[in-house]
């Protein structure tokens, strides 16, 4: 089961990073995120799974696609990857592989508890109590962060005064 999920998560993610077409990348990532949600569901974290779908598939992907469309560029005229870019890509893959090897080795070297039984049950009510009780402070901070992020995004993306669509900037 987990191998199947791994396939569902990793393959689209890797494909997304390889595609030249941004819309394809975004849609493949959506698939990967949906796979993650499936993983959460399988792990028994129902609430997180739905939140993942709602936030990533429903919202983040939309924003990404919107940004892609707003910054639409003709794919025919995009510069083909030059030598420097290829070099950078190679270096990046090497770095990632190195990091992966180190972490993977560390994981495999660590003795971990064997499989637990059935997935744990965490009702929404419990989760809510947890959030509002022990983590209330963090919740407030997150709320503040979201508000600030929203305001910041609006300020950043808002057209500068005097700029008219279609006119010369």
């Amino acid at each position: 089961m987990i191998l199947l999920l791994a396939l569902l998560i990793l393959v689209p993610a890797a494909a997304a990073m390889l595609r030249r077409n941004l819309v394809h990348s975004a849609l493949l990532l959506v698939l990967s995120w949906a796979g993650l949600a499936a993983f959460y569901l399988w792990s028994g974290a129902e609430f997180v799974a739905f939140a993942q779908v709602l936030v990533y598939v429903g919202a983040v992907s939309m924003v990404v696609l919107f940004a892609v469309l707003l910054t639409r560029q003709n794919p025919d005229r995009a510069a083909p990857p030059d030598a420097a870019a290829r070099l950078r890509a190679g270096a990046a893959v090497l770095t990632a592989a190195a990091v992966g090897a180190v972490i993977g080795h560390a994981i495999l070297a660590t003795p971990l508890p064997a499989a637990a039984g059935a997935p744990p049950v965490l009702t929404v009510r419990q989760l809510g109590l947890e959030l509002m009780g022990r983590h209330a402070g963090s919740l407030l901070v997150i709320g503040a962060l979201l508000t600030v992020a929203l305001l910041g995004a609006v300020v950043l993306a808002a057209a500068e005064p005097g700029e008219k669509p279609g006119g010369k900037p």
């Binding site: 987990i2 791994a6 990793l10 993610a13 997304a16 990073m17 941004l22 990348s25 975004a26 990532l29 993650l36 959460y40 792990s43 028994g44 974290a45 609430f47 997180v48 939140a51 936030v55 919202a59 983040v60 924003v63 990404v64 919107f66 940004a67 892609v68 910054t71 870019a85 950078r88 270096a91 990046a92 770095t95 990632a96 990091v99 992966g100 993977g104 994981i107 495999l108 971990l112 508890p113 064997a114 499989a115 637990a116 744990p120 965490l122 989760l127 947890e130 959030l131 983590h135 963090s138 997150i142 962060l145 979201l146 992020a149 929203l150 995004a153 609006v154 950043l156 993306a157 057209a159």
Partner: protein
């Protein structure tokens, strides 16, 4: 190899894909997406440890994931707003050319 090992390896794989993407691509949006993937890998770890960890009934892992998702959403919003602002100023999204802070 326990399921937890598998989960962690899966998360490592996801993290590396995100890392490679973020480092290799020059398009700002793709870099952002790579970072999102890395965040997701972290989330996966939280859930895996919560699931197979010693005290699953304590919801700390899940709570953390919820927080991370919120942070990731905020990050995506701000990041993409930056992308749009970048596009507005420079009309392209190639990060290597976006070296000056002042437009």
């Amino acid at each position: 190899m326990s399921p937890l090992h598998l989960c962690l390896l899966l998360s490592t794989g996801l993290f590396c894909i995100g890392l490679a993407g973020a480092l290799s691509r020059s398009n700002a949006i793709l870099v952002l997406l790579g970072i999102e993937l890395m965040l997701n890998a972290a989330n996966l770890n939280f859930i895996a440890f919560w699931r197979y960890g010693p005290a699953p009934s304590a919801g700390a892992g899940v709570v953390f994931v919820i927080f991370t998702i919120a942070v990731a959403a905020a990050e995506a919003a701000v990041g993409l707003a930056l992308v749009i602002a970048l596009h507005r100023h420079r009309r392209n999204l190639r990060l290597p050319e976006a070296t000056r802070l002042k437009g």
